[in-house]
C-alpha cells in the first residue's frame, strides 16, 4: 500500500523513535508490562504504515459496497439509511407484549424483535410440567396461533420488519407469523424479518435445543428451502456468535465459530441442491459488541472479509449479493454489572459505538438493569435513546467505515482474520462443526476462555469498574425492578384449555399424524406445520410429534 523506498526510510526513523522512547520510559514507565486485547493479541505501543505494509488497498480493503466488503456492504452505508434500531422485547402475555411493541414503535423504533418465553423456545405448552415457573418469564408465551394473532394485533405486518429469536421451534413460529399475515390479508411475498433458526450454537452455548443435531439441521434446511421460494424478502437464519460470546468466547472465537457454523449450514443447503446465490442473500449474522472498542470493530470488518472470501472462493457463489455478510449486533449482556447499574449505560454506549463503526445493519442496545432482572420501561428508553444520540448527534454515521486506514485497526482486522482462520481450519480438520460440537471441542474452548476471564478479573489483572475497582461497598444504587405478572401462567393455561375445547381436534390429530409421517421421509416439513398451525395445533403438540420421530438431545457435559 506504501512506496517501498519511503517505507525503508520510515523503518529507520521508527528504530530511532524506539530508542528515544526506551530512554523516556526509564523515567516514565508504562502502566502495564504487556498490553493485550481480550483475545490475547499483543497491542504495540504505536502502529505505523510498516504494520500494514502487506495490505493492498484494492484486495484487502476496497471500497464500501465492493468485494471483500471490509468497509461495509453498501456504497453509502449510513448516509443512505441508518441502521435498524431494534430492541429485543417480550414478556408475559401476548396482550402485554403487543402493548410494549406499539409503544416502542411510537418512540421511533424501526423494527420489532420478539423474545419468546423458554417453554415456547423449547417446544412445551404453558401447561407442561417443565413449564412451571417459566411461562412468560424471559419472553412472551405463545401456545397457538391464537396468541400470535394477539401479539401482532393492529401491527401491519407489511410495514414492519420482525426479528424472532427462535431456534428449535422456528418452523412453528414462522408458520404462525405467515398465518397471521394471511389473516391480515398480506401476501407472504412481502413479509420482511428474520428468524434466528441457528441450531448449532444452541448446542454450543444457548441451550434451547430439542432434537439431536442431525434432525435439527434437517429442520433448519427445510426452512431455508421453503423461504427461498415462498418468502423471498425473509431472512430465514441469523447465524449467531452472540451467545457463544456471552458464554465466554473471546472475540476471535466468536468470529471463528460463527463463520464455521455458517460454513456448515451452507454445506448442508448445497447438498440439498439449494442455489448458493439465493442462499447467500438469505443468510444473516448476529454478533456481540463488547468493551474493547477497536478489537470489536476489527472483528466486524474481518467477519465481512472472511465470509465474502468463503462464499466466493469456497462455495463459488457468483452473485455479489451472496458474498455480503449482513449482521445484527447486540451489546454484551455479560459485560453488564449488577453493581452500580447506571455504569452500564456508559458501557452500552461504547459498545454501540463499536457496532456502528463496524458497520452493523441493526442494533439492540442492552438496558442498564439486565444483570438484575428484565429491563424496566425507563431503562429500555435510555437504551434506545443511546442509539438515537449516536445516530443523530455524534456524526459517526456520516461517512462509511471512518476507521479504515488506521494502522492499528487495519492491523488488528488482519490479526482477527488470521486467528479466526486457525480455529476454522481446526474445525474443518475435525470434519466440520457438527462433529466438533458432538466431540465437545467448541464447548470446551469457550469454557476455558470463560474461566480464564473469570480468574483475570478476580485477580485484579482485568479491571471492572464498580466490581473490583471503585466499588461502593454496601451502598447500592436502587433501581426499580420489572416483574412479570405472576398470573400469566394461570391465564395462559386457561386460554389453552379453552382453545382445546373450541378447535376441531379431529383435524389436529390428522395434522400431527401427517407431520410424523413426513418427518420419517425427506419431504419438506414446512407445509405440514403450516397446516397444523392454521388448525390451531399448539407449539407443544407439534414439537412432541417431532420428538416421537427424532428423539431428544442429551448434552455432553464437559467439565
Amino acid at each position: 500500500m506504501f512506496d517501498i523506498s519511503k517505507l525503508d526510510d520510515l523503518k529507520k526513523k521508527k528504530e530511532n523513535w524506539d530508542m528515544k522512547t526506551r530512554s523516556f520510559m526509564e523515567k516514565h514507565p508504562e502502566r502495564m508490562k504487556d498490553f493485550k486485547t481480550p483475545s490475547g493479541t499483543p497491542v504495540k505501543r504505536v502502529y505505523t504504515p510498516v504494520d500494514i505494509e502487506d495490505l493492498e488497498y484494492d484486495k484487502s480493503i476496497g471500497f464500501p459496497g465492493e468485494y471483500p466488503y471490509t468497509r461495509g456492504i453498501y456504497p453509502t452505508m449510513y448516509r443512505g439509511r441508518l441502521w435498524t434500531m431494534r430492541q429485543y422485547a417480550g414478556f408475559g402475555s401476548a396482550e402485554e407484549t403487543n402493548r410494549r411493541y406499539k409503544y416502542l414503535l411510537e418512540q421511533g423504533q424501526t423494527g420489532l424483535s420478539v423474545a419468546f418465553d423458554l417453554p415456547t423456545q423449547i417446544g412445551y405448552d404453558s401447561d407442561a410440567p417443565l413449564s412451571v415457573g417459566e411461562v412468560g418469564k424471559v419472553g412472551v408465551a405463545i401456545d397457538s396461533l391464537r396468541d400470535m394473532e394477539v401479539l401482532f394485533g393492529d401491527i401491519p405486518l407489511d410495514k414492519v420488519s420482525t426479528s424472532m429469536t427462535i431456534n428449535s421451534t422456528a418452523m412453528i413460529l414462522l408458520a404462525m407469523y405467515i398465518a397471521v399475515a394471511e389473516k391480515q390479508g398480506i401476501d407472504r411475498k412481502v413479509l420482511r424479518g428474520t428468524i434466528q433458526n441457528d441450531i448449532l450454537k444452541e448446542y454450543i452455548a444457548r441451550g434451547t435445543y430439542i432434537y439431536p443435531p442431525k434432525a435439527s439441521m434437517r429442520l433448519t434446511t427445510d426452512i431455508l428451502e421453503y423461504t427461498a421460494t415462498n418468502l423471498p424478502m425473509w431472512k430465514p437464519i441469523s447465524i449467531s456468535g452472540y451467545h457463544m460470546r456471552e458464554a465466554g468466547a473471546t472475540a476471535a472465537q466468536e468470529l471463528a465459530f460463527t463463520i464455521a457454523d455458517g460454513i456448515e449450514y451452507v454445506k448442508h443447503a448445497v447438498s440439498r441442491k439449494l442455489d448458493v446465490n439465493i442462499l447467500g442473500k438469505q443468510i444473516s449474522f448476529f454478533f456481540a459488541a463488547h468493551n474493547d472498542v477497536f478489537e470489536e470493530i476489527a472483528k466486524f470488518r474481518a467477519a465481512r472479509r472472511l465470509w465474502a472470501k468463503i462464499m466466493k472462493n469456497e462455495f463459488n457463489a457468483s452473485n455479489p449479493d451472496a458474498w455480503k455478510l449482513r449482521f445484527h449486533t447486540q451489546t454484551g449482556g455479560s459485560t453488564l454489572t449488577a453493581q452500580q447499574p447506571n455504569n452500564n449505560i456508559i458501557r452500552v454506549a461504547y459498545q454501540a459505538l463499536a457496532a456502528v463503526l463496524g458497520g452493523t445493519q441493526s442494533l439492540h442496545t442492552n438496558s442498564r438493569d439486565e444483570a438484575l432482572s428484565l429491563p424496566t420501561e425507563e431503562s429500555v428508553m435510555i437504551a434506545l435513546r443511546t442509539q438515537q444520540i449516536l445516530a443523530y448527534e455524534t456524526g459517526v454515521a456520516n461517512t462509511a467505515d471512518p476507521l479504515a486506514g488506521s494502522y492499528y485497526v487495519e492491523s488488528l482486522t488482519d490479526e482477527m482474520e488470521k486467528q479466526a482462520k486457525k480455529y476454522i481450519d481446526k474445525v474443518k480438520e475435525m470434519g466440520g462443526m457438527l462433529n466438533a460440537i458432538e466431540e465437545g471441542y467448541v464447548q470446551r474452548e469457550i469454557h476455558e476462555s470463560a474461566y480464564k476471564y473469570q480468574k483475570e478479573w478476580e485477580s485484579g489483572k482485568r479491571v471492572i469498574v464498580g466490581v473490583n475497582k471503585y466499588t461502593m461497598g454496601e451502598e447500592k444504587q436502587k433501581l426499580g425492578i420489572m416483574r412479570v405478572d405472576p398470573d400469566v401462567e394461570r391465564k395462559q393455561i386457561e386460554k389453552l384449555k379453552k382453545l382445546k375445547k373450541e378447535r376441531d381436534n379431529g383435524s389436529i390429530k390428522k395434522d400431527l399424524d401427517e407431520i410424523k409421517r413426513a418427518a420419517e421421509t425427506d419431504e419438506n416439513l414446512m407445509p405440514f406445520v403450516l397446516k397444523a398451525v392454521h388448525d390451531y395445533a399448539t407449539v407443544g403438540e407439534i414439537s412432541n410429534a417431532l420428538r416421537e420421530v427424532f428423539g431428544e438431545y442429551r448434552e455432553v457435559i464437559e467439565l
Binding site: P129, G133, G207, E246, A450, Y451
Partner: protein
Amino acid sequence: MKRKLRVLIAKPGLDGHDRGAKVVAHALKDAGIEVIYTGLRQTPLQIVNTAIQEDVDVIGLSILSGAHMRLFPEIMKLLKEKKTAGILVFAGGVIPEDDIPKLNEIGIQHVFTPGTPTDEVVSFLKNKFPDRV
C-alpha cells in the same frame, strides 16, 4: 481423614445460561472439592434425586430465567420430604435482591448475585465445612 466435600451444581428451570454454573463448578474443583454438574433443564425432583444418589453434602442452584421463586421452594420442600434436610443449599444467578430474604427463609443458606468472585463461594463452603475443604 474426613471424606472430601461433595457438591452438586444444578440447573433448575429451562434457561441455557450455564456459564456461571460451569465456572463455579470449575473453581470448586480447583479448590479440591468433588463436583457433580447436572447439565441443563433439571426438574426439582431430578435435582433432589441426583443429590441423594450422589450422596452430596451441598447443592448449588443456578438459574437466570426468573423462575426461582417457583422452583426453589419446590426443591426445598422435596428435600424436607425425603429427609435430606442436612444438605446445605446455596444459589446464584439473576436473582433480584428483594427475593433473597424470602429464599433465606425457606432454607437457602446463601444467594450469590452476579459479579461474585468464585473465591467467595469457596470460602463460604470452607466456613461451613472447615475440616472438609
